[in-house]
Symmetry: C2
Subunit: 351 residues, 2 copies
């Protein structure tokens, strides 16, 4: 079988990042050959260590190299020794913005066998996907400080929203909704307070939605949405929302499907004008780094999303199934190490 | 017994607002005499009906009258027939801003006998109080729209944060934390992305906190905080947070302690430069209005907060205890009407 070659950039990062990425790559290596894929990997040393050494977060030269790749797998970055925001803004968000990852895709799905903190909820009850805007809103970094450290200090943050940016993410969300059995799309915003941005989202939803009569549309304020996540998660199918609200509700989403150890995400450039980046939602968890305690499942599920993105849907389904079977058999995490979980899932996909 | 006279403004509002306010006033009427309080009530016709009739939300003349009152009880405002944001911004938020309600106080407490959606959680596990900033942040209404309805539209929303505004709410939160047995204060923000505003909060927390060595302080990103609300609510005692994050996490908080039917709040001007306003967190719920289905408990608990604010702590405790006893005996709401619940609680406080 002639295999298709895919250039894969790997950013292991800090803390547990390298450990979980190793397992993600193990599973990728196990599923690739029989799917006719060959991944040419390049690893990039980015994160806290590099920042300490060189003061760099994501240098232009590295960014240029990344642009030449087909797809990116990232572990996690961040360390308490680095001032808050430095790596987040300088590396993670810079990559999302520069590579125009306008769709931040985050499934929220309860797998059989996984303990949820919600009483009486079964896997049938939670199966949604959040389409989070990734390149504007309150994440632009626009804002500033006047009279710092004085009693008259003013600090501002600006949420910038464009018709261009809002339309493309809403259109994408309609496509996702139209492809799913329930065909339901919920806009989550706060249009009664953030009236300018909310109104742009609402008008765009209406306009784009006219082209998707088969998709049922509704709206929730973000505060109400968090209530429904815990009281009636069944009501959600596809959610489209702004960058900040998406950040918040997907962590809550992770919590209700068994925690951040299982939450995968894709920073997607649907136009393929630049490589997309897949990463677990969790952070670098320096407190448990190097102890084999990290759950690599979120990274492995991110690998499944990566496979979908490169057009290897069969391989993606195999990885998801392997994860699902593995989770169903786990007698609670703690019994197995990071490597053991990776091994078990890799074995299932190659088997 | 000579009774102290308190001028009470009542804004019943729309939907279920008048129904729940009636029960709140019933309980207030039952507890006041024996507490040496006499409430002189003035009712204000504000909300959707007035807006339809006159186009007014909160006219200056009414605002001036409100300033002359000691305290305000509000039911709920809002109706689908009114464009989203009109009453919220024109009435609710206008009152909070004009009356300088810089502390939005929201207890999150699980009462015995109340069903929570969280598995294995008992009343001992959830007892926190959120001190939400009420007069700045993303709620200022600053922002605008450029090239509306064109492909080049830009919509902005600005979060404005001042040393003045942040310091006073953080100081208040420290006072609350210092008065509680656990003496723990958690700042919730998103300082790794909203770096300017987050940094102002962090620096202020540190500076003000130096005066409260007895209070243990920590920090959580808002996304992580939502996870802990469902996975480990025990970790929270007092939370201080910005206006928007406070809005979101208190709805989530309401959900984990049995729903919005029980969530009380106070829009407080701690300096008493203007009357404070107490209201249930829930909205006007037009779908169930006029059917006796609304749970008045959130309003009654708001009345307890109001009593605390006017210095009637004993009466406040009596109302809280009556609610707590009533909840412990309820076989699930649905059995009793709005009025029946109000009657039952009023009977307990007068008994
Ligand atoms: C680390 C941080 C910048 C990031 C975000 O806020 O988007 C993270 O929370 C996430 O959700 O991917
Ligand atoms: C109605 C709305 C303006 C309000 C808010 O966002 O503050 C409400 O959600 C609340 O929490 O009191």
């Amino acid at each position: 079988m002639v295999s298709r070659s895919i250039r894969l950039a790997v950013i292991p990062g800090d803390g547990i990042g390298p450990e979980v990425v190793a397992e993600g790559l193990k599973v990728l290596g196990a599923v690739a050959p029989s799917s006719g894929l060959a991944f040419e990997q390049t690893s990039y040393d980015l994160g806290a260590a590099r920042w300490h050494r060189t003061g760099e977060t994501l240098p232009d030269t590295v960014l240029d190299e990344l642009r030449g790749q087909d797809v990116i797998l990232l572990g996690a970055v961040g360390d308490p020794s680095v001032p808050s925001g430095t790596l987040e803004r300088g590396l993670l968000l810079r990559a999302r913005f520069e590579l125009d990852h306008y769709v931040n895709l985050r499934p929220v799905k309860l797998f059989p066998g996984v303990a949820t903190p919600l009483a009486g909820v079964t896997p049938d009850d939670i199966d949604m996907i959040v389409v989070r805007e990734g390149t504007e809103g309150p994440y632009t970094g626009v804002g500033g400080v006047l009279r710092r450290d004085s009693p008259n200090e003013v600090a501002t943050q600006e949420s910038v929203n464009t018709a261009y940016g809002v339309e493309r993410v809403i259109r994408y969300a309609f496509e996702v909704a139209a492809s799913r059995p329930r065909r339901k799309l919920t806009l989550v915003h706060k249009d009664n307070v953030l009236t300018f941005a909310g109104d742009l989202y609402q008008r765009t939803l209406k306009r784009v939605g006219a082209g998707y009569p088969q998709v049922a549309v509704d709206y929730l304020h973000v505060d109400a949405a968090t209530m429904f996540f815990v009281s009636r998660p069944q009501r959600f199918d596809v959610i489209v929302t702004d960058n900040l609200f998406g950040d918040i509700i997907t962590d809550l989403g992770a919590a209700i499907v068994g925690g951040i150890g299982l939450a995968a995400s894709g920073n997607v450039n649907p136009d393929r004008a630049a490589p997309s980046m897949f990463e677990p939602v969790h952070g670098s968890a320096p407190d448990i780094a190097g102890q084999g305690k990290a759950d690599p499942t979120a990274t492995i599920l991110s690998v499944a999303m990566l496979l979908d993105h490169v057009g290897a849907a069969d391989a993606a389904r195999r990885v998801e199934r392997a994860v699902s079977d593995d989770l169903a058999e786990r007698a609670g995490f703690g019994d197995r190490s990071t490597t053991q979980i990776g091994d078990a899932i890799a074995k299932r996909v190659s088997g």
